[in-house]
Symmetry: C2
């Protein structure tokens, strides 16, 4: 037995999220995992059980999703990382791709061995959506955001807290909702000649919809609809109704995952 | 009489180039100018004659195209730049937009008053196309480019030369083909977490297909298929057959135009 790992990127627009789903009205829904498993099955001539670092929702993009799966010694020897990289990219659709393939430690789990996960959420503000980033941001037709206020609000969320207010209500029932946010910051960025705002969040792990609800909540502060300290009361309310709106999926990119000894970070 | 100017961005993928064209097989072809003129006609309730800084080909994008057109004193007073900006963005398709509107000096021509024009050409190299820039680059499945060699080759093209070898042959017949390239450089850039290569070229004006033929020629050097000095012989040959292939349209962005006294540059 050996364990393989993949670094995966995808444009989420064409997928009903990462995880495979049951057929809907008798039709298969396109998912990232569905496409990936199909390609792996062609290569290994058997079903392959894949584990991901973080399940992304419909429309959410990834630059640094990590996948693990087990192979036999024979499979390890006959399918080198170099060949796997080329074959998987030939077998998967254009809007997803494998950036890296490596042999991980035996029994490595992309999910359970992850030490931290980083997401970035892109905002664009003004009368016009940006050119290159049009499909990778939340375009707000409003006045410039108060980035200092957003960063002030972000401070309340850093550290270990019960993030129940930031979790899709149905997913929170009967499950632990404490999480550790290691870093959360908001900064102006210039991408391909245009000004955007980037929310960067790093955490041990995240609840369902947590990053998008944090983004929507910080945007309410940035637009001046709420004071930064409001975010503290949202946190303490432990109720999804207290937080801001869930920001749209297309602005979110699953950026990278940290593992001990694996250092292919994306900067 | 007064003169208005617009700063325009567009994703070229959906257009048969900038300039309006005669109907093809009885059907109108979508062009940037066609859409813009239609919107201006709605606003001014008359046909509006527009001039652009640079005609872009089918599939070429723009971040900083500039347009000029004349209005009467009455039209100037009743349609402020602020209202024009909002109305034009409401009337034009999603994949194009007006970034700025201002009253220019009387008789200003976006074309004839331009002092310099800047284009950027994006290249991506490796097994996988980039995520965010997928539709805005030429993706080459090759070994890393030799950027130093490309810059060496670029030096031969800077300055005043006869660029006949870099011009679409049919457009060069009986027309002057001397142009002044003010700057041409190649550099690695990181955009939304991924490594690309950007060719930046500034010139007084450009011949038809000139930037894309320069890009294709520099890529031949970057891939090691040609020595940098080959570019000098291409220039001296004064024949389109001597140059490299024309790089695909989707990697090209018409970046900005310089005018005396107008200083909204895009960095």
């Amino acid at each position: 037995m050996a364990t393989m790992a993949l670094l995966l990127q995808y444009n989420g627009a064409g997928y009903h999220g990462f995880a495979t789903q049951k057929p809907h009205n008798g039709r298969d829904l396109a998912t990232v995992q569905g496409e990936l498993n199909r390609a792996l099955e062609v290569l290994y001539r058997r079903p392959v059980d894949t584990t991901c670092a973080g399940r992304t929702d419909a429309g959410v993009h990834a630059l640094g999703q990590v996948i693990s799966y087990d192979v036999s010694e024979e499979e390890l020897e006959t399918r080198t990382p170099r060949v796997l990289l080329r074959s998987l990219n030939a077998l998967t659709p254009e809007d997803m791709g494998v950036r890296d393939v490596w042999q991980a430690a035996d029994g490595f789990s992309a999910r359970f061995d992850a030490q931290w996960r980083e997401y970035r959420y892109y905002l664009s503000v003004g009368p016009l959506p940006p050119l290159v980033m049009a499909d990778f941001c939340w375009h707000l037709r409003c006045e410039p955001l108060d980035i200092q206020a957003m960063n002030e609000a972000a401070q309340y969320l850093i550290g270990e807290h019960d993030f129940k207010s930031f979790c899709l209500a149905a997913s929170a029932v009967g499950k632990p909702t404490c999480r550790n946010v290691l870093d959360l910051s908001v900064a102006p960025v210039q991408i391909a000649g245009q000004d955007l705002v980037c929310i960067r969040v790093v955490g041990s792990s995240f609840l369902h919809s947590m990053v998008r609800t944090i983004a929507g909540t910080l945007v309410a502060v940035g637009r001046g609809l709420r004071e930064p300290a409001w975010v503290d009361s949202v946190l303490k309310a432990c109720s999804r109704d207290a937080a801001g709106e869930k920001a749209p999926a297309q602005g979110l990119v699953f950026w990278q995952v940290g593992y001990e000894g694996y250092n292919r970070h994306l900067g």
